[in-house]
Amino acid sequence: MSTHASPTFIRPLREAGVTFVLALIVFGPISGLVLDGYSIEPHLGRPLLIASIVAAGRLLFGVLEQTPFGQKLLARNARKASGGVTVARGDEYKLLYFVVPLVIAIGVTLPFVANKYWLGNLILALIYVLLGLGLNIVVGLAGLLDLGFVAFYAVGAYFLALGAQYLDIGFWTALVCAPMLAACFGAVLGFPVLRMHGDYLAIVTLGFGEIIRLVLNNWLDFTGGPNGASVPAPTIFGLEFSRIAKQGGTPFHEFFGLEYSSDYKLMFTYLVLLVVVLLMVRFLTKLRQMPMGRAWEALREDEIACRSLGINHVIVKLSAFMMGAMTGGLAGVFFATYQGFVNPTSFNFFESALILAIVVLGGLGSTLGVIIAALVLTLLPEVLREFADYRVLAFGALMVLMMIWRPRGLIRPKRPHFAPEV
């Protein structure tokens, strides 16, 4: 097709017409006729509006792709969306020496300036960063679609809650043991499934996520069922972050002679979480340069080639799956501590979908992208409260659009520089 031919409107118009009719059929009944008991409440304007928007969009695209400007855009997008990665040159590290201390400094000062509401949101955002990083290992690096990631998150959270109840363990014990337990769950689930074709893993993990939630919901004697279980306040060097310490302990605020405030607990949780997230980022960056990390990415790109080169695909996939599960368990401990209470509704499928949306929007495999996406997707809805109903709708649409336009994420992935660091 010649670039300079003047755009024709006949074909786009016809396509837009067809689109309009189809959109009317698709959106008409569900959005136009609202069920009200056994009768119908008509809202006939809504499907017309939706269909008009869809058809107008189709017309716009139809015309735009004929103009030189549109073709340039298409070519640019095709270039960006195509495979391949940019190899880091190595001098990016100079910038990092400046940026990393700045980020840490901002991260550490934030809890002392933010109010209680925003501190809570920041903790949640960091928990999602952790979850995103964990799922990113599984989906982004190893290319295994895990739709039940929330199960490992639940294992971590419930380990702290039930461990405190039955075994009298505390925050720090859980911080070490819960990730290990979650990794064991990952191994038990992953080992049989990872031997098979990759797509099955998605549906098995989806089922597993539901199993965990149903068991937590139905096993009343052990987990407390839908009523959930309470989580004790964390401690630091034996000082409790609660108003009154139990059995001879000293509360944090009494020891330092401060007024009691629940902010101390939040600040403490935030700071520990920040340290864990920073360590995790460092760990992942290093891991991607090591043979294990590179084997993950190689296996994602071409499994058969990897196997014929002698990589044990089951072990490599299992290591990624367990590593992801471990991070999920870690995030669960923080979530339980922050809430002071856990119940099964926090671990439903939408939670898994939200974490997946974070990884997909951040760009599969990009650590920086995942961190930004987690912060944006958790903090933005707090600002845009009035659109809360449309949140999941937007996530779904964004996932489809991302896969079509930028399957490798908004930020082009960079392969780490392999030359020795000087």
Binding site: S31, L35, S39, V139, L145, I211, L214, M403
Partner: protein
Amino acid sequence: MDWHILGQQLVNGLTLGSIYGLIAIGYTMVYGIIGMINFAHGDVYMISAYLTAISLAVLSAFGVESVPFAIVVTLGLTMFITGVYGWSIERVAYRPLRGSTRLAPLISAIGISLLLQNYVQVAQGARNQGIPSLIDGVFRVGNDKDFVQMTHVQLLIVIASFGAMAGLTWLIQRTSLGRQCRATQQDRHMAEILGINTDRIISTVFVIGAAMAAIAGTLVTLNYGSFDFFVGFVTGIKAFTAAVLGGIGSLPGAMLGGILLGLFESLFSGFVNTDYKDVFSFSVLVLVLIFRPSGLLGRPEVEKV
């Protein structure tokens, strides 16, 4: 063991199993032809349940009294609109991703699934919806205390499912369209060389799958009368389990797997525990994948380079 409980659970299981089988057809055909798990299929089923209730309500608002007529019209309308859903989803979310990474269509399907659920939630409200019971009457065997009963709706479900399955088998085995479907399933590239419009065949498969889910959605809504925007999720996983159990890619396998899963689940909830019946079904999925990934009637998968 009480024979009447066993008999009752077998009847319930057969009904439930026919439904799983109908939905499983959508998974198995799509997997057979383009090798992807269509996660949005369960939500297409959910959409058809809403369409059924809307259509019945509209018909009753226009003063249609005859129940059989209303059901036939509703079934036809639901199948048509749900078919358009199937076509549009394939066109918008999956076709642009042919030849993309392996993960892309799966993630896109999850996106569509979320989109459909939330769209229905926003448009129709999050509350439970329902329809009045239209068909009454039961067949009953046994004395007053111990009996096995099959409601007329359950009988309708079994007959309609087997009818739909027979029609589909005829379509696939005997017609030109069916031959083209089978050719595309065996070797898409070769089929294209032989002059088959494979894009059109893939679209057709999505439409057929959606229409089968629509039959299931209408029948289930007539039977239980209550649903919400989240019903597609669990039913979808179970139907997929049925497809895997029967051998994914195999049409008779989907129906066999569906009925077996329905029977297992009914017997489990009748004799063991109702709370854990979903856990049981998901465990069946995991066990089948571990011990017999090719299912009962499927062929083992060969990886081609």
